[in-house]
Symmetry: C2
Subunit: 413 residues, 2 copies
């Protein structure tokens, strides 16, 4: 029952908090930037900006870069940028056939990135947690040698997550159910990495696209993430739409044919049966059973790409089917959510040369004259990397959004 946008009274302190976040955000967006430019951009006065910047400098969130060479008149300003050598976010990912870790600094530069291939379906959740913790330790060590300090961690998983407990309620493709991932990691990871967030992979991939891809021009968008499952991440006004229980975006089990084939989820004619990774491979005549790689390294998807490039008829037909069915589902989604853009990510980014055309055709056919302009269709620049980086980015984003919490963490270097 949120009343007027948040039921909390606004005190001078909260006012300062928000203006601090406003300035820090403007630095992140426009660095390098001078105090005067910040004042113009945020609408605050020069005095207020100065006072806030002083705090941000003391907290080591922002650093001065010396005089800004301006070809204009007057005294040049001092350039401000986000600190590159201070706090950073750690992103982890558990997927069906690999683990990944990456470290991102405040300026959203990826400073460390590790991937470790291996079939996690064959492993016990605790064993996966153990491997992931080791990967994390390696990434943190590499980050420390670059002068970075991890402030928090976020783990991407291909399934539904209970935000409160950090447990994976259900991840069908991993065959996980009720796995308390946060607790499993908490015991295996130094306390400096906590808190550990757990979040759905498709959601994080959408945010990854926002922060590390072409996010700027997307507006409100839906990021469709093709992996072994099919998920959608919905971003509205720069923020993730999570739904009431954090489970929004489950696109893979949209019903396409009410009387179609049975799906593992219990339903019938689900989208995943037409354009999930395994369905595509099978239709193309490839064996999806072996170490299914999500488009990275060598794996069935690269094999498929090879066949497509060679003009293999069966493979091309499989993508025609996938694109068309995905387009039909996307049309319904677009009519329901009215986004500016639809982004194809995950393996769909890799398969875009063959997928895009039938997808777009079906999408437009399903959105007739009802809307002024059809949504743009964009291809993810990140592909399968989007989720880990989105996870790390989520950590740094929350630092940028709440700088107040970090003010006392000054004395570092």
């Amino acid at each position: 029952m949120a009343g007027p946008s948040g039921d909390v009274p606004l005190r001078p302190r909260a006012m300062r908090d928000r203006n601090r976040a406003l300035v820090l955000d403007a630095v992140a967006r426009h660095e390098p930037v001078t105090r005067a430019q910040l004042a113009a951009r945020t609408g605050l006065t020069k005095s207020s900006v100065s006072s806030i910047v002083t705090e941000l400098l003391a907290a080591h969130l922002v650093v001065e870069q010396g005089a800004q060479r301006g070809s204009e008149l007057g005294r040049p300003g001092t350039a401000l940028t986000l600190a590159r050598d201070g706090l950073a976010g750690l992103g982890l990912e558990v997927n069906v056939d690999y683990l990944a870790a990456c470290v991102v600094d405040l300026a959203r530069r990826t400073r460390v990135q590790y991937v470790e291939v291996g079939d996690n379906r064959a492993r016990d959740p605790a064993a996966v947690a153990e491997l992931l913790a080791r990967l994390a330790a390696a990434a943190v060590a590499a980050a420390r040698s670059q002068g970075l300090t991890i402030s928090a961690t976020c783990v991407a998983v291909p399934g539904l997550v209970d935000q409160e407990t950090g447990a994976v309620a259900r991840a069908p493709n991993l065959d996980w159910s009720g796995v308390p991932l946060r607790r499993l990691l908490a015991g295996r990871v130094p306390a400096a990495l906590t808190p550990v967030l757990v979040e759905n992979e498709a959601n994080l991939a959408a945010l990854g696209e926002l922060w590390f891809g072409d996010g700027a021009g997307l507006g409100d968008y839906v990021h469709i993430s093709g992996e072994i499952g099919v998920g959608a991440g919905i971003v509205v006004a720069g923020e993730l739409f999570r739904g009431a229980h954090g489970h929004a975006g489950e696109l893979g089990h949209t019903t396409l044919e009410p009387d179609g084939a049975a799906c593992a989820c219990g339903g019938r004619g689900c989208l995943e049966l037409f354009c999930g990774q395994e369905a595509i491979l099978r239709r193309a005549g490839l064996d999806p059973a072996v170490s299914t790689s999500t488009g990275r390294a060598d794996g069935p998807v690269s094999t498929l790409v090879g066949q497509l490039a060679a003009g293999d008829g069966q493979a091309l037909a499989a993508l025609e089917v996938a694109g068309r069915s995905l387009g039909v589902a996307a049309a319904s989604l677009v009519k329901l959510l009215d986004p500016d853009t639809v982004v194809l990510g995950g393996i769909y980014a890799v398969l875009a040369p063959w997928l895009r055309e039938p997808f777009q055709r079906a999408l437009l056919a399903g959105i007739p004259m009802t809307r002024a302009a059809p949504p743009r269709v964009a291809i993810s620049a990140l592909g399968p990397d989007a989720a880990v980086r989105g996870a790390a980015g989520l950590v740094t984003a929350s630092m940028l959004a709440r700088p107040g919490a970090l003010l006392s963490v000054s004395a570092r270097a």
Copy 2:
């Protein structure tokens, strides 16, 4: 792209604005209420609440009701309630087969409500605007005799609206396209009723349910509005989800059968072909062509209800089909948006005794083990009245949310 929740700097003035809205909202929710209770509820101190209440009293938004009889110890407080005799909102509705107007006061009591039946497809948009303006004038006169002053107007229309211009981009069931409704009304209505908002009917019906129905317990919900078209209104955290262009919630043209029958929208196998009002009537063996009434008064829907109550097989089968198809579409919607509740509104509220069971069955079948708890299914308490009242409520809600704008409007009575 919105940075830290709004790119506007927070000044002392904005702080006051928000706290004013916070207090006013608390009054609305808990009236009658004393200053001390408001302080406890909002988290502000007694001093701040006192100061804000003084302003609200001066603006005639709130009135004192004399001493509050408390069975407790100590000095009793003075009860505060929203003013019943001051500002009010005017809601209008253009639908296929009727026009409606209603006036709602700050306390969300419906003070005036008029409905005028008549087929608007047969009329020119300008003629409709003329009739609507006359209905509005009558409603306003009735409101004035109760001591109410209209502060603004909102019009509900069954189609896609351009929020900027207040024009109806397309309303297929009215056969309107590019009708500048705001401009048509502006010339025919006294200036005191402006500004005139124009908004989609399904969206307003959802808000109507929130404010005038069982809104309290719904949480985040989707209100499915069955009329001649089928629309959905999505409410998240007490606010409407409009999408990037204000066109979100178009459920009626979700594709159910990609190779199904052609729909007027240009697509194939659309949901409306299975559970739109005309489809249901036709399948039940009734003639939908005559003055199709949206469940109010006498009309084909009441005829249908009669047949259903009598146990007519063809009619029951029609509702079985409608319920099942609506349930399938709702299942996809639920997986995409993850709401707490799904509300059946419009004619579906009237048909609920026969619709609910197949609907719920299909809905649950489509949401297997993937979610912790399936969404609740609720039946609208308002039915076809939801939209007009939501329109009027939207006006009063925006007054409550931005009391600052009304402070100078004091001298009334």
